[in-house]
Structure formats: structure tokens, C-alpha cells
Symmetry: C2
Subunit: 117 residues, 2 copies
């Protein structure tokens, strides 16, 4: 209840995490991340071939990933050098880590509801 002090801070955190999740909320963007993961070095428009969508669509997906801080692009000659930015995924990863830890520790079975009150 209330807790107006930490509320705004936590709310901002929730928006941040949600934004990262939203950036990953599309198979094509997951594929892009995996593709960048498989190639430690940068690539140009090879992504377009890999994804199998129109160039403009892929460009839009890359823009979304960049906006969320998941990937970064460096201008390199005519091409653009994309690479993963792990730090951008950290907020989401931390939440998942917390859930997985707690899940292993405390929630063995479905837990017991306190029908009390």
C-alpha cells in the first residue's frame, strides 16, 4: 500500500525492463540477436538475407533493437557494423535471474495459499 517513495523509481525500472522485453518480443528480432551472437564480428546487410524479410523491415527491427540498447551500430564504410550490446539486456536478465533463483529455493511445490483473512 502507498509506498509512494520508491514507487516512482520502481515504476521507471519496470518500464525499462518492459522496454527491453518488448524489443525481444518478435521472432525476427530474436533471430537477429542469435545471428549476432553466432558471429562475434560485425556484419553488414547479411542480416537481411538471414531473416528473409524485406530490407526495410529488417532495418526497422534493427532500429527497435538499437533504441532499446540491445544492439549498437557503427558506421563503417557503406555498411553499418552491428553488434550486440549485452549491457542493454542486463535489466531484464537480472529480473529473470531473481525469479529463477527464488523459484529454485522457495517455491518447491505450488506453495500454500493462506486463505486466512
Amino acid at each position: 500500500m502507498s509506498a509512494s517513495t520508491t514507487n516512482s523509481i520502481e515504476a521507471a525500472e519496470e518500464v525499462t525492463v518492459a522496454n527491453v522485453a518488448r524489443a525481444l518480443a518478435h521472432p525476427a528480432r530474436i533471430r537477429i540477436v542469435r545471428f549476432l551472437l553466432s558471429r562475434k564480428n560485425c556484419i553488414g546487410g547479411d542480416i537481411v538475407e538471414e531473416i528473409g524479410l524485406a530490407q526495410s523491415t529488417v532495418s526497422e527491427h534493427l532500429r527497435i533493437l538499437k533504441a532499446a540498447g540491445v544492439v549498437s551500430g557503427e558506421i563503417e564504410r557503406p555498411r553499418i557494423c552491428y553488434s550486440l550490446n549485452p549491457a542493454g539486456l542486463a535489466p531484464l536478465a537480472e529480473l529473470l535471474r531473481e525469479v529463477l533463483e527464488t523459484g529454485d529455493e522457495a517455491r518447491t511445490d505450488h506453495a500454500q495459499c493462506e486463505p486466512g483473512s
Copy 2:
């Protein structure tokens, strides 16, 4: 290139991961997850108060989380007993772990583009 053998399997994986991410792609749902995380035991409609949205809206968010396997609900009296389902988050967590690991190891700086070809 090609790789038509594993393509369908990987494509299904990408859809799975994207679906989990989509379930988390909203601040209200992140808040729900955090709320369930803070209370190891189950809760009823306390979530509605916490979130500050209409009951029907919260119910819809819970439906999305359930559909993605992120939370599970057990019927308990008139209430429904919600709890986190860490296993549902595993596919996404694994991808993030891979990215973070690789990011620490190999991608010290922005990596070097091979303008070759």
C-alpha cells in the same frame, strides 16, 4: 546459409523465446511478476490493488502471463492462487545468459569489422 535442417527447429525456438518476451513486454506485467516474486505465497485479487488498473485489465494481463507459462493459477475457493512459474522463463533466460557470457568474453570493444569481401 541454407541450413534447412535445423531451420524449422530454430524458428520454433525463436517464436517460443519471443512469446515469453512478449509476455513481459508491459510494465504492468513486470510489476505483477515482481509482486509475485516478493510474495512467495499466493495471492488473490490483491494484484488489482497493487497494479492500480481495472480488474478486467489485470485479469487480461494475468491471462497473458498464464498463456506464456510465466505464471500459473490454481483455483482456491472463490479466489485464484497465482504464483510464478520460473520454468516458463527459462528459454528467454538462457538466451540472455548466452549473450551476457559472450559479451564478457569476446566482445571487449566494439570488435573489428571485416570490411573484407
